[in-house]
């Protein structure tokens, strides 16, 4: 009962926010609806028992991708009414692509339904949920069997980071940075001089 209520709640909000993503006038609202859609899809994944994907969806899509979208939308000065102008003109081709996608989805769905039970390869068997959670199952493979590949992926990401810094970082001259060491090491003599001024002569 609660399961069904949760499912319909998440599903309705997902569909509703997905529609709002493409129909709202303000692009910032679109991105916010997109985030709402992501959160509700994550809820659907939890209902499916795929809690790892749900977490990844929130962390990666909401935490990184949507925030990046937000940055782009707010930083770039794009005239959205200008972009919308061709809507009527591109409707036929867009509709055609949509229809093809729909037909393909239906084909996949019916084909799957007709093909009968899938035989699972024992090498890729998924452990039962009451024995081991998804996260644990993925982790126990990733850190044992695929530890080598995991480490290699880490090195590739390190190279990507070095590469981004090498290709874009520039040392700008004239930037004033706080150097705490210099501040602490500063002595009274560095800051001011005591000058004895003779009366009537000034500092020349």
């Amino acid at each position: 009962m609660i399961y069904a209520i949760c499912f319909y709640l998440f599903a309705t909000i997902t569909v509703f926010s997905a529609i709002m993503v493409i129909s709202s006038r303000n692009p910032v609202h679109s991105v916010l609806y997109l985030i709402l859609a992501f959160f509700n899809s994550a809820g659907l994944f939890v209902l499916l028992g795929a809690e790892f994907i749900a977490m990844i969806l929130v962390i990666v899509y909401v935490g990184a991708v949507a925030v990046l979208f937000m940055f782009v939308v707010m930083m770039l000065d794009i005239d959205y009414s200008e972009l919308r102008k061709g809507f009527q003109k591109y409707l036929p081709i867009g509709g055609l692509i949509g229809l093809i996608l729909l037909a393909e989805l239906l084909l996949v769905g019916f084909g799957w339904g007709l093909s009968g039970p899938v035989t699972t390869d024992p090498a890729t068997a998924i452990p039962a949920l009451n024995e081991m959670s998804n996260t644990e199952a993925i982790g126990s493979l990733l850190y044992t069997k695929y530890a080598f590949l995991f480490q290699m992926a880490g090195l590739i990401l390190l190279v990507a980071m070095i590469g981004a810094i090498v290709l874009t970082h520039r040392a700008r001259p004239g930037v004033k940075k706080q150097n705490i060491n210099d501040q602490v090491m500063r002595r009274r003599g560095d800051a001011y001089d005591i000058v004895k001024v003779k009366p009537g002569q000034g500092l020349g």
Partner: protein
């Protein structure tokens, strides 16, 4: 209960040492800044030399580790030695260049080190996934290296072109891998090989398509025709020491990977891939020779030359025998020395107002810098394959092997392979024109300007030693160990 979760790390000690070394040097460089570039370069070379020693001392039969994703045998050892020597020499050669150009960046040697690590993993890959990981680690580092002089328009163009085409080739390779996994049910080379050999009927069409796509992805990396388009632009645009690095180490690693992919998982399908290899080999030899004739830039010329040489090396694979593989291994060893020497000469082409890289700039070199002219002359003759220089013997072993295969079949002589050898020799004659042209320019044209005296002793030593090796390859003291190790390396894959 002595079972442990830790895999056997011993076969990968070299790679682990390199990874830790790269990270330690990165920290060192970050704290010391670009003024530590020279020290970081020297330490990088030291890490490579230590890894070389670790690799040389590993002298065992095939050992698999990391769930059979990683293999070490005599073939991988030999190829890793070549890769490490080429990379260490590239680091040595780059030091003076970046100092002269005032573009010293401590990340450069570290990226070379990480690229070399990727190549080591490529050479040792025994699984489609470790293949891809090694390839990407190598390629990603190379893309950055190509445009490390980010203020130069040519270098940026080279980096971008290399990146876009490299990403495309990776995509093709991944698509092929997914097809192979889908149709065979495993990504492991050994398991794929066993499954295909046990199949009652021939391999599925999906496996063949997958294999051809993987082959195409790898052909990009070795720049074999028809996947060579990026090579001239990248070679010309990248800074010269980077080109010197590109020309040797990645080629050796990708070729080693190609050989393993062809012989271990797809050994049963040799009929399918021999056609592809024969075509790529023919087309590379012909294009490498013909297109180079009109080049005026020496780096571009070396790019076409390397395409041609890859064609000659592929002849060894087309032979499909242990002798052919031995020929390929010998060819790569000789190619390494020739290319490193030639690029040492190109790096010494510096006038008062900067680097020059046109062939016409070499005019009269014999009068102004006779020693360098003599060395470059030897390299050119060797690249052309004139006996008794080493380059000739490289071609000799691959062509001998392919002719032996062609006539070995008692039923019918394989005229396709004989044609391959004949056209190969003809292409080598055409290629001799542009190599000899450089010699003519150096020795018979009037000098127009003088190169400044090369300060770097390392560069002079590399030039001298590789020229001497080219000349003296005929001596049994020099060629016997190479031939013996090459035989053992080839025997590790084909018995």
């Amino acid at each position: 209960m002595t079972e442990t979760l830790l895999p056997d790390l011993a076969p990968a000690y070299g790679e682990i040492f390199m990874a830790i070394g790269a990270m330690a040097l990165l920290m060192f460089g970050v704290f010391r800044g670009n003024k530590s570039t020279e020290l970081v370069s020297l330490l990088t070379a030291a890490v490579m030399i230590v890894t070389l020693i670790i690799t040389v001392t590993w002298n065992d039969t095939a050992v698999y580790t990391f769930e059979n994703m990683f293999v070490v045998d005599r073939f991988t050892s030999f190829m890793k030695i070549l890769v490490l020597v080429a990379s260490a020499l590239a680091v040595f050669m780059s030091m003076q260049y970046f100092k002269d150009e005032k573009e010293e960046r401590f990340e450069y040697p570290i990226l070379v080190l990480l690229a070399t690590l990727g190549m080591m993993v490529m050479v040792s890959a025994n699984d489609l996934m470790s293949l891809y990981m090694g390839l990407e680690l190598q390629s990603l580092s190379l893309y950055v290296l190509a445009s490390i002089r980010r203020d130069s328009e040519l270098a940026t163009e080279a980096g971008l072109k290399y990146f876009v085409l490299g990403a495309l080739s990776s995509g093709i390779l991944l698509f092929g891998s997914s097809l192979i996994y889908g149709f065979v049910g495993s990504t492991n080379f050994t398991v794929i090989g066993q499954t295909l050999s046990q199949a009652s009927h021939g391999p599925d069409i999906g496996v063949i398509i997958g294999m051809v796509l993987v082959l195409a992805g790898l052909a990009f990396k070795i720049s074999a025709v028809p996947f060579h388009m990026w090579t001239p632009d990248v070679y010309q645009g990248a800074p010269t020491p980077v080109t010197a690095f590109f020309a040797v180490a990645p080629k050796v690693a990708a070729l080693a990977l190609l050989v393993r992919v062809l012989y271990v998982p797809f050994g049963e399908m040799s009929e399918s891939w021999t056609q592809v290899i024969v075509f790529m080999s023919l087309a590379s030899m012909v294009l490498g020779s013909v297109a180079a004739v009109v080049q005026t830039n020496i780096k571009r010329l070396m790019a076409y030359s390397s395409i041609g040489h890859i064609g000659f090396a592929l002849v060894g694979i087309a032979a499909g025998s242990q002798d052919g593989l031995r020929g390929l291994v010998i060819y790569m060893a000789i190619y390494l020395v020739m290319n490193v020497g030639t690029f040492a000469c190109i790096l010494a082409m510096r006038r008062k107002d900067g680097m020059v890289e046109d062939i016409s700039d070499l005019a009269g070199l014999a009068q102004t810098r006779p020693a360098m002219a003599a060395a470059l002359g030897i390299f050119m003759l060797s690249l052309a394959g004139i006996p008794p220089l080493a380059g000739f013997w490289g071609k000799w072993y691959v062509f001998k092997a392919v002719i032996a295969t062609a006539v070995a079949d008692p039923m019918a002589t394989n005229y396709g392979l004989i044609m391959l050898a004949v056209i190969g020799v003809m292409a080598s004659v055409v290629g001799a024109y542009y190599y000899l042209n450089i010699i003519k320019v150096m020795f018979f044209n009037e000098p127009e300007g003088e190169f400044i005296l090369q300060k770097s002793r390392k560069l002079k030593a590399i030039m001298g030693v590789s020229a001497a090796l080219m000349l003296l390859f005929l001596l049994p003291q020099i060629n016997a160990p190479v031939l013996e190790y090459a035989r053992m390396a080839a025997a590790a894959l084909i018995s």
